[in-house]
């Protein structure tokens, strides 16, 4: 057995599976840094996966290779719009943010399958897409033995995810916008005093969150599954939240945690390929990412890194 090849495959698959988690956990980062809990990442991913698949389906005959990009863009827009009710509820109406998020998760699960059935004549899933993202090989670099396949042959969305990590880090920690975002999440009263519009910042953060999470969902339907069904996302939005917490609300940390959870998924597919299912029941392999998430969360030390005003609605009149 070629261990180099196995390792190379493992890294390759890890990147594939981490992509969606990176996008979604970055999405969560914007929202939570501004002080709004976003448990609706799951629902936003579902909307993204659905919109991406449907729009790509609509354009694949006329635009062929360009269709997935159109679908991807549309997913981002749909995600931002879908996130709006969460912002309205939690910022304007000071609702319980967890409950509002749960409602959006339900809504996404119901609405996406409802619309799928209407569009695809009663079928519970979209037709398999003929045009999805193909892998990009970086010239020269992808010829490096093992390493080339592992890192330099990936979906364009994966490269985009890593660029987005850097971009988010820059935006959140090096620009006035980022300073305001963090101020609103740490001490909204102080931010308000110096003239930052707390509500506007939070609305923007939640909508950016929706767009990024939806992109995460779209990367699944437009790369690995090539269609949308009720179990395309299956809990990855919640794993993304765990990644955000594990990564201490920092873009690089969230990326690291997302890669870690990606390994759990990659092992899942490797185990199936290598026929290890004879020794380990498949059910345990399916359980792995979820068990790992619990263990990681339980093992966290120094846990109070959350933005100070996370989950607290801001009331202009309060002290």
């Amino acid at each position: 057995m070629d261990w180099g090849l196995i390792a190379s495959n493992l890294v390759h698959d890890t990147i594939v599976f981490s992509t969606a988690l990176i996008f979604a956990s970055l999405g969560g980062l914007y929202s939570e840094r501004s002080g709004v809990v976003n448990i609706a990442l799951e629902g936003m991913m579902i909307i993204g996966a659905f919109t991406g698949a449907v729009i790509t389906y609509a354009f694949q005959d006329s635009f062929a290779g360009g269709a997935p990009w159109i679908g991807f863009l549309a997913a981002g827009i749909a995600g931002a719009i879908f996130a709006l009710p969460h912002a309205v509820a939690s910022v304007t109406f000071k609702a319980d943010q967890t409950v509002s998020g749960v409602a959006l998760n339900f809504l996404a699960a119901g609405l996406s399958v409802y619309l799928t059935k209407i569009i695809f004549n009663g079928a519970g899933q979209t037709t398999t897409l003929s045009s999805v993202f193909g892998k990009w090989s970086i010239p020269v670099l992808h010829d490096i033995p093992y390493l080339g396949h592992a890192i330099f042959e990936a979906y364009p969305t994966s490269y985009l995810a890593f660029i987005m990590v850097f971009f988010t880090w820059y935006l959140v920690f090096k620009t006035p916008f980022g300073l305001r975002l963090r101020a609103v999440g740490e001490h909204p009263r102080a931010a308000d005093t110096v003239g930052i519009n707390v509500k506007k910042m939070r609305y923007m953060a939640v909508m950016i969150s929706g767009a990024l999470a939806a992109w995460g969902g779209a990367t699944i339907s437009l790369t690995t599954t090539s269609n949308f069904s009720h179990n395309t996302v299956s809990g990855q939005g919640f794993i993304a939240i765990a990644a955000l917490i594990f990564g201490k609300w920092h873009p690089a940390g969230a990326m690291g945690a997302a890669l870690f959870f990606g390994v759990a998924q990659a092992i899942k597919s490797l185990v199936q390929i290598f026929g290890l299912t004879k020794y380990v029941p498949t059910e345990f392999i399916f359980m792995l990412p979820y068990v790992l998430t619990i263990l990681v969360m339980a093992g966290l030390v120094g846990r109070s890194n959350a933005p100070a005003a996370l989950g607290k609605p801001y009331d202009t009149g309060s002290r």
Binding site: I39, P85, V88, A89, T92, F93, K94, A95, D96, T98, V99, S100, V102, A103, L104, N105, F106, L107, A109, G110, L111, V113, Y114, L115, K117, I118, G122, H230, N231, S234, G235, F238, I241, A242, I245, P281, E283, F284, F286, M287, Y290, V291, T293, I294, M297, A298, G299, L300, R303
Partner: protein
């Protein structure tokens, strides 16, 4: 008469009521957008539920597990915990009762109660995992309980495949007759709808919920911790122990729900490809019921009618059953964002105030 009006114009009653109406309206808009006739759809929903004895009985069957999971979520809410894990607790309750029902041979008066207790304990323990992690490690119970739902699903399939499912089949052996809690004569009355003692147990559970929370010292502590953990700690209560206890009792409710589903309805456990969904609907039930036992029972009746009647909408108006998920989600949303609802309720409240003066 005035007192009756007073009850029905109370805010705690009006907010859920308006939320339900707004939810149904949202569903209607979604149906119009999809090219369906919402009035016809809602009519066929009601016709499905109340049309004949069998379907009416089956609606009661559908309502029963929702009472259990609703109580489960509501109980944890009272201690300040969001138990999204009722789904998983329900599933482990199913596993435990199937195991007891299939593998033991006992007289009926011991077997059935034992199977239910097994489900309760399994559900309770599963719930207290999330409670323990919250208490001891400060882990957000929402995330752990969601993860535990998935773990429970795969665990159930593994346990079934490894011990109880004959090879090549998709469901376990039948539980022994002595563990079955179906009520034969009542079933016959309702054209063999699957009615069982679980419904009565659900109502008793709601009463138990009330008594333990409002009539015992232990319940006082649980509620105090939910209202203000710091003050409770200062008053000498053990917050962590109460957190685990609340999740255990909440899990027990869901676990009994799972047990009754096996012992009263199916009499076997199938290999699952997706979550059964009662736990998630339980969240909606608890919220709409304001986390009170009576509210939960009423909420369960409403959502039982909606989810069972959804098949009628499909049959009568061609509406995909998922539409009812949209309605339920909207109801949860409007209950959460009750500020929106209050805009609609305000005129009524105002009128009442004027009338009082």
């Amino acid at each position: 008469m005035n007192r009756v009006i007073a009850v029905f114009t109370k805010e705690s009653f009006l907010v859920p009521l308006v939320a339900i109406i707004l939810g149904l309206l949202t569903g209607a808009i979604a149906m119009l957008a999809g090219g369906f006739n919402p009035i016809k759809a809602y009519m066929s929903l009601l016709e499905k539920v109340f049309g004949n004895a069998y379907n009416f009985g089956e609606t009661i069957r559908q309502i029963t597990p929702l009472i259990f999971t609703g109580l489960s979520v509501a109980f944890a809410f009272r201690t300040g915990l969001f138990n999204i894990g009722a789904e998983g607790q329900f599933i482990v309750g199913m596993i435990a009762s199937t195991a007891v029902g299939v593998s033991l041979d006992l007289p009926a008066y011991i077997h059935a109660p034992l199977a239910i207790i097994a489900g309760a304990v399994a559900g309770g323990l599963w719930g207290s995992i999330a409670g323990y992690l919250k208490a001891a490690r400060g882990v957000n119970e929402v995330i752990t309980s969601i993860m535990l739902n998935w773990v429970a699903l795969y665990l159930a399939n593994w346990v079934m495949n490894a011990f109880f499912v004959p090879s090549g089949q998709q469901r376990s052996e039948m539980i022994h007759d002595s563990a079955i809690i179906t009520i034969g004569w009542l079933s016959t009355m309702f054209d063999s709808a699957r009615l069982h003692w679980g419904t009565l147990i659900a109502v008793l559970a709601a009463i138990f919920f009330y008594v333990i929370l409002w009539k015992t010292k232990s319940g006082y502590e649980l509620r105090a911790v939910g209202l203000n953990p710091h003050a409770s700690e200062y008053a000498g209560m053990n917050v962590n122990r109460n957190v685990v206890k609340a999740m255990f009792i909440g899990g027990m409710f869901a676990g009994i729900g799972g047990a009754c589903e096996i012992l009263g309805v199916f009499h076997y456990q199938a290999i699952m490809t997706a979550q059964p969904g009662y736990g998630f609907d339980g969240i909606a039930v608890a919220l709409i019921g304001g986390n009170t036992p009576l509210g939960v029972v009423l909420g369960a009746i409403l959502f039982g009618i909606l989810t069972f009647g959804a098949a009628g909408m499909k049959f009568g108006a061609g509406v995909p059953v998922e539409l009812i998920r949209v309605v339920i989600a909207s109801v949860i949303f409007f209950v959460a964002a009750h500020g929106i609802v209050k805009i609609f309720v305000k005129p009524i409240m105002k009128k009442k105030k004027e009338g009082g003066n």
